[in-house]
């Protein structure tokens, strides 16, 4: 026997349930408008996990975005710092020659205070000393009152003498030139001789008696006998000595760095052999109030 579709059997009860659900929904949709506050609170409680998860996700995204922004800002600042460092290095490289020249000028000024002579300062504008027929040229000439055979020196030692003078410039004959001769004396034995150039930065002393006792490292000073330099300016140091016939040949390393000179002092023509001692600084007790 076939069961009745709307009877109180399982099929009928299922149909009644479906009908009730349908009618309930339709009635709720059409007639169920009311105050939503209670539903809102229930729904808020139910949706708490989803809102929490969303908040965590958004927080993670914001944190990651902040980290990326910090990294970009740090990279930008690093780039700026590098550019500034390069600019400062370039500026430093541009000012390095001026700083070196200023240092030399300060040392020349100090030397000028200690040597009681009327000296003129000059700048070396050409230094091709090691080239064939080369030499050194300074920026002072006849207009500054320079003449031939004026002595030239720097804070480290004697440089040479003026060889030729033009209107605005003058050429120098350095100590290590083959045709340069300078009257010198040894510091300890006081033996005098003539210094002649033998090569770049080197010279030898001739006409020193074989009985003289010479020590390696001994300073060599000008003797003042050539009337180009006064007595007592440092020329160089003894490197070696050997007997050659009746005389000694003494090799000398020049004290002045001839390849790196930028500023020099020019002695007056035919200075006195002995320099007067510089005036002593006034003692505090003699100063009048």
């Amino acid at each position: 026997m076939r069961p009745r579709p709307w009877g109180w059997n399982p099929t009928g009860r299922r149909r009644y349930a479906i009908l009730a659900i349908w009618l309930g929904h339709i009635g709720w949709v059409i007639l169920g408008h009311g105050h939503p506050g209670r539903w809102e609170s229930v729904l808020g409680t139910l949706s708490w996990p989803a809102r929490k998860l969303s908040a965590l996700f958004q927080q993670g995204r914001a944190s990651r975005s902040g980290q990326v922004n910090n990294l970009k800002q740090a990279q930008y600042e690093l780039t700026l710092t590098r550019q500034r460092l390069e600019s400062l290095q370039m500026q430093n490289a541009q000012q390095a020659p001026r700083l070196q020249e200023a240092d030399e000028a300060i040392r020349l000024l100090g030397l000028k205070k200690h040597v009681p002579l009327e000296m003129k300062a000059a700048r070396v504008i050409v230094n091709v000393r090691t080239a064939p027929f080369g030499g050194m040229v300074i920026d002072q000439g006849q207009d500054a009152g320079l003449v031939k055979d004026q002595g030239v020196f720097c804070p480290e030692g004697v440089v040479g003498r003026i060889w030729e003078v033009s209107t605005h410039q003058a050429s120098l004959l350095p100590l290590d030139a083959y045709n340069a001769s300078t009257a010198v004396m040894l510091a300890q034995s006081r033996a005098t001789g003539v210094l002649q150039g033998v090569g770049p930065g080197r010279a030898e002393i001739r006409y020193v008696g074989g009985q003289e006792l010479v020590q390696v490292g001994e300073p060599v000073y000008t003797s003042g006998l050539d009337r180009v330099f006064p007595r007592g300016l440092l020329v160089g140091y003894v490197v070696s000595s050997h007997q050659e016939g009746p005389e000694l040949r003494i090799d000398v390393a020049l004290a002045a760095p001839l390849s790196r000179i930028h500023q020099v002092l020019i002695l007056p023509p035919q200075p006195r052999i002995e320099l007067p001692h510089p005036a002593a600084p006034p003692s505090p007790g003699k100063v009048k109030p």
């Binding site: 659900i21 709720w28 949706s47 989803a50 998860l53 996700f57």
Partner: protein
Amino acid sequence: MSQPTPMPPLWRCTLAVVCLAAILILSPWPGPQAVFHAFLVLAVASGFESPLPAMLWAAAGGWALEASLRSYPHMGGTALANMAICLLVQSLMKHRPPDHKSSYWGQLAAFCLGHTLLTHLMVRIAAGPHAWGCGWLWSLLTVPLWGTLSLRLRLPQRRR
């Protein structure tokens, strides 16, 4: 040759619970949420043999969606539309099971559009004017994805 057995009701219920949970959890992202909602109504719930559990799961999906969205002043429209479209899909799939994957995709896409229109009509009746959003587009574009999955779950019988 043995007939393929349909998916056990317990497994189907488990899948429906997973879809409900996904609908609730994905409430901050309405696009993926709409995909799970369409999958629950058009593929999982409509696959039950009996219309009563199919209708109940579809209604639950509608209530869960509206509860998680919290944007309608009065709820119930989505559940009503879900029940209607679920019964329609169940009836059609019982009488005209799909032959090929492409035709099944086409049917699902048509049902998806119809579901969207009916849902917004019911929501308008229940809650008044509202925003449509882009969830329906997500559902429509991902039909090949969840349609293929639902075809495997449904195990359609060959037409005699």
